[in-house]
Subunit: 309 residues, 4 copies
């Protein structure tokens, strides 16, 4: 099932589970995969920026991607961003052979001008081959590469194999409206737009025309419900659920420690055996863990799924 | 009343009100000043980054600062950050003569090493004179200058006239704990810590030891109440009120358009005659304004002060 | 004599002479002005990035610009880059009233996308008025704003009052060729191109089609001669003279200390009474001064004008 | 022969030779290795930033490093900088088993504070093992990480296996003096300092106390001679030779196209069969090639080794 432009719903950004000694925790990989399926996710994204992908050796990357592909029964997108095209190509072709639905590519931070950005993605597609469906990641806050809607349109129109935008500009609501406007005026072909940034603006992103979310919030069930409610036109209900989780979403969306929060919550939920990260890692102090516990207890007053432990 | 290290409560970051043609709107300056006083603010900060200070001519800066100083009856902090020390000095000494309580200085984005940062603030204090109480602004997200707690300690211990930290690192909770830890171990003298970032983490910042907020959220009443409730030990009540506002706080805390949101809400509240900014300005589309209106209506279900218009 | 697109030769970038106590050194301003005229410069640029402009108060900026305008009898370009358009406008209109030939505008470092850059210059021209001839400064190494030739073309074609490009991209030879190519194919109107970067590539920049130099090398006589020789087709002679100075040009072209080197050499030449800078300043150690002295002695073996002291 | 702190002379930074179709050109690898030996280099550095290392697959990296190690009979330093410690470790241990003399590590561009930098290198040494001699690369212009002399001292004193500084700060002369001063006052242990930046300041770097060069200028013979002459106290002769090459050194030291110039000259010299780079690559236009040819002819008037073709 190759990725196409009709993709919607929630693609969970999967962290990579480790044992405290740094080995990959395969049991947790499996439990996590099952949890995403049970939560109603429509896909899973592995080896993303939040998946500690650069900390893996190439063989480990292939192993994790393969394991999740075989188990999930859902379309799997694999992050293949790399400082060089040779490594990007070998990972991309390797995971597609294993059955991935597509790959995701982020721009390197050195790009500045519109032309540099467009050229980079053209070369990347030449490197991996134009038969591999791919997702364009737009994440200026971390990558410092700023793409206007017109640049995204150039990239998408240049490459028929680009099927999806992982939208995580911040602020980004007007960008969704601009891209949907391009489609209305006929200058942009159909394109799936899934939103990231931990879900911090998912409530309104859906109203602006997004197809769903691609992010790693530790309760994907909430993301699934908000996407469903918004599509059903139940605006107030969508916001009510979203707002109940927002204090925790906001806490998780802290640069540098966000992944530690996410893994800690998934550990508290019984999905991960350990919240370990490979070095270098942002760590949670006892004070921070107590704050997350308090937030969980408050979310649980509205959404019982947050009642952990 | 010069600023000292016992400052607490809420210092509102004041925007600069303009007429649609770009002239300063003095009536709105006065109404805004009165609104901050009525909201229970303990101080006001003018000419900050969100105050469009670089868009003003020197004479305008002095005029606005003076007008607010004369009217408010509260301690006024004036942002004096400048590309050069000559302009910093003349503004700082000018506003102190008018009765300001202190000035605020942010580091220029070019600073990188610990020593460069420490040296810059030593030179800045030499430039303005060591008799002027000043606030150290720590705002890496916008300024790209990263100060460790140990560097902040060096700056504060070097300069007796530094009285306050405007804390807006993100994430920043551990930084508050580290600084308060320095004070417990005797290596840092007393220092007021007021938090920024639109209030996005004020709920927990108070629990980590902050003295209050210095930020410009369009409902300073909420900030005042959260600070008061946390100091009174009413944790759940503080979070309940905070969480009711959080969807709007989050919406206002978008880089680039945040000031437009803030001015729009203050206009809806009847404080500003117009939400105009001087060029260049982030503008709100009709869709964005409708989103803010919707958020206001949702906040108003819990906090009637948000029922506008 | 307003600046127009036929400008050529050497516009010296003037430093601002100070006394050791930080006051402006008017006698040195006059001597420096006379030295530029005597060296054969066709114009002078004041208040540029290397002119310590941000360290001046607005009144000082006007005073220095006016003094040089009145004395030189050459077209004077004044740097008016500013964090805000109000200050940019008042300085620009002030110096034009005093008789400046034009102003120079550099982009603020926050700009990223092509559209952001184009929009900024359109707003800047609206701010200062479209009756003021202006120079577009393209200086990515210091400003971190990267403009493609196509973006420069958009800016120039949008603004008839843009008369000159101060070219200091690095590397930048192909950019000159691209712009001259645009003019050959009719898509770009006539435009003066003067090159900066301390003259480090002036030998080849002339061969690619530049009209001259706008930079502050402490021996503008060399720049004047290289421009003249290249225009006369005396390629080898131009390179011979250039190469004799290159070790010193290279030494002067060090980020951060370059201005200290330049002022030191101008002091050794008897043009400046002191090599003082206002704080913050890069300073030369005795070892560095001895290195400059050694380089001067080596240059003097070929070019007697470098025999100082 | 493991790298130690007595290393001196010239370590050539080796580019990676490719065929025009992107395959590694093994014949050219061998010819290049022999040429470095013949030029009098005391070591070779492979897989550096200029070696297109990120464009190689892990197996290719090992293959190239191994081939040069076996052939050269000189100490070989291998660049192992990587976004993650797992890949850094496996490459470092792999090349040491093959007989490398040491590895080189550059900081990732995200580091800002002194403590972040020191911590990163401590973790890197833990990752590769403290039995591997390593070179600290200090290259702010490209990496945007600024290390003060005091930070370098902390790193070196923390890690006995750090044996060398690849110095390429710009400007950097005072940094060499500061580090040598630390050694005089006993606060820094012995450390080899080899200088980079294409050799642009090698003339004075030797006088400040450097032990030699580690850079990739296409005529390592000149670097070898300048190092030798300076050590022999023949200052004027060193500068005479250096200055004859400086116009070409300067041309080669252009960000982005520098590698293209270097490969072109090595191709003209008969060392590389092709000047091909893997994508993405800075390319030389015919105009640029003609400029390099002209510069070669001018250098050859003084140094016959530059008479190519």
């Amino acid at each position: 099932m190759p990725l196409d432009e009709t993709a919607e719903g929630v693609y969970a950004i999967a962290p990579t589970p480790f044992h405290p000694d740094g080995r990959i925790d395969h049991d947790s990989v499996d439990r996590m995969t099952d949890a995403y399926v049970a939560a109603g996710c429509t896909g899973i994204t592995v080896l993303g920026i939040m998946g500690e992908a650069p900390k893996l050796e190439p063989a480990e990357s292939l192993e994790i991607a393969g394991r999740i592909i075989r188990r999930a029964g859902l379309p799997i997108v694999v992050g293949v961003s790399s400082p060089g095209f040779a490594a990007m190509r070998s990972l991309a072709r390797g995971v597609m052979e294993m059955g991935a639905a597509g790959v995701m590519i982020a721009p390197p931070p050195s790009l500045r001008t519109d032309d540099q950005i467009v050229t980079y993605f053209r070369q990347a597609v030449e490197a991996i081959g134009d038969d591999i469906p791919w997702v364009l990641q737009d994440y200026p806050l971390t990558l410092s590469v700023v793409m206007t809607p017109a640049v995204i349109r150039r990239i998408v129109m240049d490459s028929p194999s680009c099927r999806m935008l992982k939208h995580e500009d911040w602020p980004g609501l007007e960008k969704i409206s601009a891209l949907r406007g391009f489609q209305k005026d006929g200058s942009l072909r159909p394109l799936s737009i899934l939103c990231g940034n931990g879900g911090l603006f998912l409530d309104f992103e859906m109203e602006r025309g997004a197809d769903g979310a691609m992010t790693g919030y530790a309760f994907p069930e909430m993301l699934v419900d908000v996407v469903r409610l918004q599509k059903a036109g139940e605006r107030d209900a969508a916001h009510d659920l979203f707002d109940a989780h927002l204090p925790l979403v906001r806490y998780e969306q802290q640069q540098g420690v966000g992944l530690a929060v996410r893994k800690y919550v998934m550990h508290r939920r019984g999905i991960l055996t350990s919240d370990a990260q490979r070095t270098p890692a942002g760590k949670l102090t006892p004070a921070a863990k107590a704050e997350v516990d308090y937030l969980l207890s408050r979310v649980a007053r509205v959404d019982r799924r947050a009642a952990v432990g």
